[in-house]
Amino acid sequence: MPLYAAMLYQADLDWSAPEQAADLVGYHEFGEAAAAIIRGGAALFPTVTATTVRVEGGRGGDVLTTDGPFAETKEVLTGFYLLECADLDEAVAQAARIPAAWNGAVEVRPVIPMG
């Protein structure tokens, strides 16, 4: 069955902060309900921890780092799931149950099958 990446975009957040507790319940519920189709995923530390890396002048060139996320936007990537779904309809229906979908948005993208 195809895999879809469900990428969680919302206001920058610290998953471990006490005010996230209520939301975490929502993620826990999704995790249980969708256990059969979740094939992976991760929650990310807030963008204050992000470093953006570029290599100037082609491979082996100077490594340039900037402090912060790739793009400064109101809503940022906060985590993702890998979901195994039959088709886009199912992937969209599952993504709509992730709390980020109502706190921000979830981008659903098909994963290229390997091997």
Binding site: P2, Y4, A86, D87, L88, D89, A91, V92, V108, R109, P110
Partner: protein
């Protein structure tokens, strides 16, 4: 002397009839083939080849007894060729054969022997089982082209390509877009269908109302864009209107009992019945009250009115918004003169519509009707009550200008007209307002 490029009218009509027969049959063949090969893009390429071959050979050899069967054989062979070509580059052929029990039964050499096609069960367009399979295949095709994860513009382009059988060049002309932009949009839409796996199926019952509404909305968008072009030099784009009507008929044929489809077809027929009278010889819009009603299409009006009757009988207490809009259009279409218009009925239908589908534009149209029924002062009062939501709306300012002028407030009318001209979206309408100033 005859223009050597343009065929004589009779030949042109015959060519049109042939092209339209090929497109109708091609759509059915495509709907089934897409399910069989599990790839809409590949099926489209195969059917396109078959249709081109039909247009080349039928004028010479005669139209086959069952055009769809002819196209099906040719398209299926072409699909197998395409799958083999892709199969030699990857694993596509294997997948396609797994997906499709029908294709497995094909003779090994697609170019050997012509017989054997008619025997495919579930595929015969005339058999009872075949017609229900075909019905579902066509619905699958409709729902895929109008899938909510595609942008509205992509849905329109894909519907014109896949459901109407228009070429990319024809779509570009119809949408006033560049052919390469249309081609790019279609490539992206097909890529998304294939790679993100937009399913080729009729939605489950619980999703059906919403998904069907999206299908109707796509056809309505197509019609609206053709009926009153939002950009460009002309008011009407007949090619788009004709395609929207064809799709409206298809949806009504597929779901004869659906009140939304009945209402949409009636609405399009009634609005389009005025086509010949809506623009003058110079292509400028003619207001409803000034139109030559003898040029309205009586057959379209009859059909629209009959559909409304059927729709209202089926709808009961809660008619579909398209049906109500059609009823309003019918009130205009049935009035022999502008003075004979039943404005009382029109205001009542707008009240129904506002309850079903509240919005500033419906309220604006209700204010216009009220102005006709109760006089310009009443219309202006109704307009003032809803003015906040309509400042960016050219028609609202043009309406205000008309009402002010009737009340003799000429300076205010002129300033409202100037505002409308600034906001008008197509050149033809802008010209009409300028003439008033």
């Amino acid at each position: 002397m005859t223009d050597p490029v343009t065929p004589p009218p009779a030949a042109a009509d015959a060519a049109d009839a042939l092209a339209s027969a090929v497109r109708e049959a091609g759509r059915e063949v495509l709907a089934t083939l897409a399910r069989q090969v599990g790839d809409l893009g590949l099926a489209e390429d195969a059917v396109q080849d078959a249709m081109e071959r039909a247009l080349r050979t039928w004028p010479r050899d005669g139209v086959p007894d069952v055009p769809a069967a002819w196209l099906r054989v040719v398209a299926r062979r072409r699909a197998i060729d395409l799958l083999r070509a892709e199969g030699s580059r990857g694993r596509r052929e294997e997948r396609a054969v797994e997906l499709d029990p029908d294709l497995r039964g094909e003779p090994g050499d697609p170019h050997g022997g012509d017989g054997g096609d008619g025997g495919h069960d579930g595929d015969d367009p005339h058999g009872a089982q075949g017609s229900s399979v075909l019905h579902d295949d066509l619905l699958r095709l409709v729902f895929t082209c109008c899938h909510p994860t595609l942008s509205p513009v992509s849905r329109v382009a894909l519907s014109l390509r896949t459901l109407c059988g228009l070429s990319e060049e024809e779509i570009a002309v119809a949408l006033l877009a560049r052919p390469d932009a249309v081609a790019r949009r279609l490539v992206r839409a097909r890529q998304k269908i294939r790679q993100a796996r937009i399913p080729y199926r009729v939605p489950a019952d619980h999703e059906l109302p919403e998904r069907w509404a999206a299908v109707l909305a796509t056809v309505h968008l197509l019609f609206t864009e053709g009926h009153t072009a939002s950009t460009g030099a002309t008011l009407v784009r007949p090619a788009l209107v004709d395609q929207a009507l064809r799709l409206g008929r298809l949806l009504h044929d597929l779901e004869p009992g659906d009140v939304g489809a009945i209402g949409l077809l009636a609405l399009m027929l009634l609005q389009d019945s005025r086509r010949a009278a809506r623009v003058d010889a110079d292509g400028r819009p003619v207001l409803l009250a000034d139109q030559d009603r003898s040029r309205w299409d009586a057959a379209a009006i009859d059909e629209g009115v009959r559909l409304i009757g059927e729709g209202l009988r089926r709808a009961g207490e809660r008619p579909h918004p398209y049906l109500v809009q059609a009823a309003i259009a019918a009130c205009h279409a049935l009035a022999p003169t502008p003075e004979a218009t039943d404005w009382d009925a029109i205001v009542s239908w707008y009240d129904v519509l506002l309850a079903l589908d509240p919005g500033p534009v419906v309220a604006l149209n209700r204010a216009v009707a009220l102005g006709e029924r109760d006089g310009p002062a009443a219309g202006l009062a109704a307009l003032d009550a809803i003015a906040d939501g309509l400042d960016g709306h050219a028609f609202a300012h043009a309406t205000r200008a008309v009402l002010l002028r009737r009340l003799g407030r000429l300076d205010e009318a002129a300033s409202a007209d100037r505002r409308a001209a600034d906001l008008a979206v197509n050149e033809a309408t802008r010209g009409l307002i300028r003439d008033r100033l």
